[in-house]
């Protein structure tokens, strides 16, 4: 059963996500004995050993990590030309690196952004930049710790596909795309703030609306 939402429906996923093997123990960062998941923007996302250890399916559509794409670009070029390669970014990787490695972003049928944890909102800004400044038009997919309560925000900043975490229902999650009907601020889905979309009332008309419950002091 697919857990992919695209265009407001749960659909079959024709893409295979390629991941890197976990980093060697020495590269895992710890603070007070706890593993630190977040990295600082621009940090290297993989070691040479991890890249060597990655298993790349030989056929079908695959989403490869940016670092793997950068290292194996030559090997993957024919498949990329065939529309079989999508690229995914860690939330701390730089869009500039992605752009430098592909030239035309719209030659990619799919870009995915990884949310290492629900609370990491870097991917929101990356998505907005891809859709606006860099003019990316194809599928933009959220992967990783993707849960229904982020979907409304993700939709607004330009995602159109959401790989809901495997242990949660994508069917249930669909409802959250409609959490709010008319937002205040502009974003990627609609750049106009509310006051450019609707005629809103000023004070004198607002007062008449609440007159029944609150009358001003006469003095």
């Amino acid at each position: 059963m697919s857990n992919l939402i695209k265009n407001n429906a749960v659909i079959a996923d024709e893409w295979t996500l390629v991941t890197l093997p976990p980093p060697p123990e020495s590269a895992v960062r710890k603070q007070a004995g706890k593993v630190v998941i977040f990295k600082v923007t621009g940090e290297p996302a993989a070691t040479p050993e991890q890249l060597d250890g990655a298993v790349i399916p030989t056929t079908g559509k695959i989403i490869v990590p940016l670092t793997l794409w950068q290292a194996r670009k030559q090997d993957l070029a024919a498949r990329a030309a065939n529309g079989e390669i999508g690229i995914w970014l860690e939330s701390y990787e730089l869009l500039e690196d992605l752009i430098a490695s592909v030239g035309d972003l719209n030659s990619l049928p799919l870009i995915a952004i990884h949310f290492p944890r629900f609370v990491d909102g870097r991917g929101f800004s990356l998505a907005a930049l891809l859709r606006t400044r860099y003019g990316y038009k194809n599928e933009l997919r959220a992967i990783g710790d993707v849960l229904r309560d982020q979907l409304y925000f993700m939709h607004r900043v330009g995602f159109d596909a959401y790989a809901i975490r495997a242990d949660r229902s994508a069917e249930d999650a669909l409802a959250s795309l409609r959490d709010f009907s008319s937002p205040y601020q502009g974003s990627v889905d609609n750049p106009l703030p509310v006051w450019r979309r609707h005629t809103r009332v000023a004070q004198h008309s607002a007062h008449s609306r609440v007159q029944a419950t609150h009358e001003d002091e006469v003095d």
Binding site: V40, F118, Y152, R156, F180, R196, A206, H214
Partner: protein, 553 residues
């Protein structure tokens, strides 16, 4: 004040429904504790030491009587009949039940209130001067811009998962009362050399573990660009702010790491893409929002009232209260009145449901039905006629609301501390009470004069101890509670961070230490010199020497 239209109302109603469903899923086991946590936090709900704590937004501290009556009603029905006004100009409930919170939010929505973004790693409720719109030194009323910013920041999709909390303050007066230098972003209205209104943009201020005053990254911004400029700042922060260590995740650390100039350069570069875009504020939208804060409802009065003067002459207690509680007003014949929530023995900022009802009624009768919450944790009736001051005093006094200590040593800013807060290292409320008891002589208090004493129970600094003239910080040493004392902090346009005077003290020593600081001041002050002025003139050394002097044998 601002009144919701259908769009505002639908957003808070939809928020209630969303939060109700999130809570349902949590109780049904569909959300783990860790997953529910960021959701409830963005709605102001913390799990505390004894019970959950719900932080209710009072946008820029402004309330109407109907809202305050509703808050009183909620504390009776869902809590223990009192609430705590915090240094964020909000109201905190200390004892709500987790499962009742959706119902409380639904109640709040009926009076155009909510708990949206009062906590969590998002843009928090925006704060300002409690005298906005009435202060004699005001250049521009900041409230219309703050309301526009409030709407823009509510559920902003790009900034829903920032590295850490993000606080904005806006000031519109000559003397800053909004702590613009102690916020992630501080927007300060001023008149430029052409006598035009402009905004000075401060970034990277904050108290907490690493207290630092902000830096100006743009001296002159036209108000139309306030949203797009903030978007540029937030985007740079969202992408580059650290997320690997919560103590290094505030924007101030990024600004420090990059250097203010480089940070400003990145913001300017980003802003070029936002500038003049659709989020540029139009004059029409500004005027629409400003119409809710319009002046022109005051009566023309002389700035002298014979009955008021007579009441003061006849009643020294009233005169003492009026001296501290009545503040200057733009409009002749009016005063802004601070109601002290700092009587001795009550947690600073606490008010009972009965007191809330009394204040709401007084506001209804004497102050256009509106009230403000100050970051000093008091309540303000902002538009009172001179001739009504006596009636307010009598009404307030009957309910323990007329303590004449506003701006004095016992008007202590104090976080809830170890009695309630699960973050705290030490208790703060009993320290405040012990200090208030030590300084219970009113004449002595008035002689000491203007003094801000701020207490935080931990380095998160909710009690703003770094900018108290005297600051008290609770610290944990080997599992017991100790208190570190700072001197020389100050809020305002000439803000400063206090200096630690030396090794910390046990709880029972703190009132004695404060007394020694005061003795030093009284011995050294010149005429008309406030405590903070004396500290600035002579430095902290004499204070330190007196506090730590060995007792004479």
């Amino acid at each position: 004040m601002y009144i919701y239209d259908d769009i505002d109302q639908r957003i808070v109603d939809e928020r209630v429904a969303q939060y109700r469903d999130q809570t349902r899923r949590y109780f049904a086991g569909e959300l783990t504790d860790d997953e529910y946590r960021p959701l409830r936090l963005q709605n102001g709900l913390y799990i505390q030491r004894h019970a959950p704590m719900l932080r209710i937004a009072v946008p820029y501290g402004l309330l109407n009587s109907r809202q305050l009556h509703k808050l009183a009603d909620i504390t009776r029905r869902y809590d223990k009949g009192y609430g705590h006004f915090s240094t964020r100009q909000n109201l905190q409930l200390n004892w709500p039940k987790l499962e009742d919170v959706p119902d409380i939010l639904a109640e709040l929505a009926t009076v155009q209130m909510h708990g949206i973004q009062t906590s969590g790693s998002c843009i928090r409720a925006i704060t300002t001067d409690q005298f906005a719109g009435v202060a004699p030194d005001e250049i521009v009323d900041p409230r219309p811009l703050i309301e526009i910013l409030r709407q823009w920041s509510s559920f902003h999709p790009e900034f829903a998962g920032l590295p850490r909390k993000f606080k904005l303050a806006v000031s519109g007066s000559k003397e800053d009362r909004a702590l613009v230098q102690a916020h992630d972003i501080g927007l300060e209205f001023y008149l430029d050399t052409d006598n035009k209104i402009a905004i000075r943009v401060w970034v990277g201020g904050g108290l907490g573990r690493t207290p630092i005053l902000g830096t100006v990254i743009r001296e002159h911004l036209e108000w139309q660009h306030a949203l797009t400029y903030c978007e540029a700042i937030l985007r740079v922060y969202n992408i580059h702010g650290r997320r690997d260590n919560a103590y290094k995740a505030r924007i101030k650390i990024l600004v420090k790491a990059l250097g203010a100039e480089e940070f400003a350069r990145q913001v300017e570069a980003e802003w070029q893409h936002h500038k003049d875009g659709p989020s540029t504020i139009t004059q029409a939208e500004f005027d629409r929002v400003a119409s809710f804060f319009a002046t022109g409802r005051h009566t023309t009065l002389p700035d002298h009232d014979a009955a008021f003067e007579a009441a003061k002459a006849a009643n020294p207690a009233f005169a003492a209260w009026a001296k501290r509680s009545a503040h200057g007003h733009k409009v002749p014949g009016y005063r802004a009145v601070t109601i002290s929530l700092k009587p001795t023995g009550i947690a600073p900022g606490d008010a009972t449901a009965e007191q809330m009802d009394v204040l709401a009624d007084l506001a209804e009768k004497y102050s256009f039905g509106e009230l403000r919450v100050s970051h000093e944790q008091n309540i303000i009736l902002a538009d009172v006629k001179l001739g009504d001051l006596f009636a307010i005093w009598e009404g307030a006094r009957a309910h323990g609301l007329a303590t004449p200590n506003v701006g004095l040593l016992t008007d202590i800013i104090c976080c809830p501390g170890g009695d309630f807060c699960s973050l705290a290292n030490a208790k703060s409320i009993p320290i405040a009470e012990a200090i208030q008891r030590k300084f219970d002589d009113l004449d002595y208090l008035h002689d000491i004069g203007d003094l801000e004493l701020n207490i935080s129970g931990c380095m998160n600094s909710c009690g703003h101890h770094h900018i108290g003239h005297i600051g008290v910080l609770g610290v944990d040493k080997d599992g017991s509670e100790w208190y570190q004392i700072t001197v020389g902090g100050k809020q305002g346009s000439d803000a400063s961070i206090g200096t630690v005077i030396g090794p910390s003290f046990a709880a029972e020593e703190v009132p004695g230490v404060v007394e020694k600081l005061i003795e030093t001041y009284l011995g050294q002050r010149t005429d008309e010199e406030r405590f903070i002025d004396t500290v600035r003139r002579i430095g902290t050394a004499p204070f330190k020497a007196h506090v730590y002097a060995k007792e004479a044998a």
